[in-house]
Structures are given as C-alpha cells and as structure tokens.
Symmetry: C2
Subunit: 175 residues, 2 copies
C-alpha cells in the first residue's frame, strides 16, 4: 500500500525546528524515483474526475511534487512564495503564526477568473500557509477546487481550518 511505503521512507527527526517537535523529513523519498512517480500518479488518479485548471505550489518543498503533478495533468503551475521573492507585480497575504506573522505572495496575473485551482504543499500542519494560498487565489477571482498534501498531521486539525475553502482535501499519508 502506498501510504505504508511512503511512511517507511519518511525520516523522523526529533526536536526540529525546535525542542519537542518530531519533524517528518520527506527528503529520503526524493532518492526513490519509482516512489516519486507512484506519488504523482496517486495524486493524478484522485483528481481524475475533477481535473483542476491550475496548481498552486507553496515554497519551497511544494515546488517538487506540485510541479511534477501540474506537468502530469498538463496544466499551469503557479508559485506561492515568501515575501520579497517574486519579481513582478504581486498580491500578498499576511497570516498569524504561533509567534508573530508570516507573509506569502503570488504574481497578480497568474489566475484567470473562475479557474478551479488546486493547492499543493508537501505537509499539512495547522493549515496557515495553505489558507493564505487559498486567500490569494480568491483575491484573483479563482475558486479553490481542493488541496493535495503528501503528509498530513491530523492531530493539528488543519483540514478543519481549510474546509471553508474546499471540502476536497487529499493526503497520501496521515499521522
């Protein structure tokens, strides 16, 4: 089963980025091209009945499978980046973190009105960044058609926060 296979490759790193957090390191997956292609295929299959018009990938690990999936589905790929990284005219959304705030940006001409846009990141934790990506899509007149994560940390209840944007949320691996 794909979930078990992915779990057997993900590496637990204790106390990163700070004491008490058990970090799920996905980088060993990237050494296994067969597993990578199974992951892309699994996302594509789950989207086969409602193919989005574009995929938004969140910097920077969301660029990996997000771009691969967009190419597989033959649709545009759009970057959501941390503040100050995108060069052209852009829109921004600021959101709260445990301590302080974070800001993400998207180029302003990326999404056509009415497009159904899928949001991808490698990991869903509390959902703050994915929610910010949803806001950026809506600010441009797009619809959030769903979310696709490689890993979801269920105990952080990120999908609860995201369901007001779309009830379609795919996670290949859950902890």
């Amino acid at each position: 089963m794909l979930e078990e296979k992915i779990k057997s490759v993900i590496r637990d790193v204790p106390d990163f980025p700070k004491p008490g957090i058990l970090f799920k390191d996905i980088t060993p997956i990237l050494h296994d091209h067969k597993l990578c292609s199974e992951i892309v295929d699994a996302f594509a299959e789950k989207l086969s009945e409602s193919k989005p018009d574009a995929i938004v990938g969140i910097e920077s690990r969301g660029f990996l499978f997000g771009f691969a999936l967009a190419n597989k589905l033959q649709i545009p790929f759009i970057l959501v980046r941390k503040a100050g990284k995108l060069p052209y005219k852009k829109i921004a959304f600021e959101y709260s973190l445990e301590y302080g705030t974070a800001k993400v940006e998207m180029h302003e001409d990326e999404i056509k009105k009415g497009w159904n846009v899928l949001i991808h990141d490698d990991l869903l934790a509390t959902g703050g960044t994915a929610e910010a990506a949803a806001k950026l899509i809506q600010m441009q007149g797009g619809n959030v058609s769903g979310f696709a994560f490689l890993v979801e940390l269920e105990f952080l209840k990120g999908t609860e926060k995201l369901q007001q944007y779309s009830k379609n949320s795919i996670s290949l691996v859950r902890y």
Copy 2:
C-alpha cells in the same frame, strides 16, 4: 528553436531585486506545460551520453526542473537549501556575496562516494551558489559531473568560475 521559444516567454523585470538589475522572470514558463516538457527533454537529451548518478537542485527554483529531470532520468534528487532549513545531520558551505556571505547546506548522507552528480539551478549568474553546491558534493566524496542551467547570464562569467569543478555546463538560454 527552443532557446528562442523560452526567451519569448521569459519576462524582464527592471530594478529587481535592486535598482539597475534587469531580472529574468521564469515563472511564465511554468504556465506552459508543453514548453516545460520540452525543457526537461532538452536537458535529458544533452545528458544522454553521460547520465549522472544523481541531481542536486538548488533552493528554491532549482527544485522545479531539477526534480522533473531527476524523475525523467530515473535517478535520485538531492536538495541544497539555505542554512537552517534541512532537518537532519548536514554539512554546510559558506561563500561570499557582493555584500556579506551566504550559507547553503546538504544532508550528510545524500551522496555515495564516487557518484557523478549534476548540479541544477534555474539561473547561472556569478556562479557563487553553484560553486557552493559543488563543494558540498566534493565534501561527501562525489564528483561534479556537470552543471545544467535553464538561463545563463554570460556577461557575469559564471562558467569561468565553475570550470574547475566540471567543464560540462549546459545552458538552454543565454543572455
């Protein structure tokens, strides 16, 4: 011709990230899945006679075509990230910028001794970051088999700096 096609899609953004710099924005390419797949195919074709054992991609735009190319060639993909981002045991290399320094890191168990490793980034400017990636590969006993860039700014003479690591440097687009 592929170079002309890519050039027609790249967007010039004046005065980014600072006054006087004409930034080459590759994000419009990501909207064109056909062009994206032609780019991956062009890299793969140029590497067909000396397929590397792995590809190192430089954060974060180097994750896009780097990962796509690694999957196409069916070889491992390895991340070089800015300091503090990788969770596991890692090695670091610090290098000089115009003002100050920058540090990049790689997990310490990523490269097997004797592996021929290709370095990819979207854009070659002065070559400082690509050189740092080369150092990280050599620190782990790997060989730098070559470099692959989507865009090269020839007037900054990055390839001169890199040729001590490998004389094989591919750039699909040159300015």
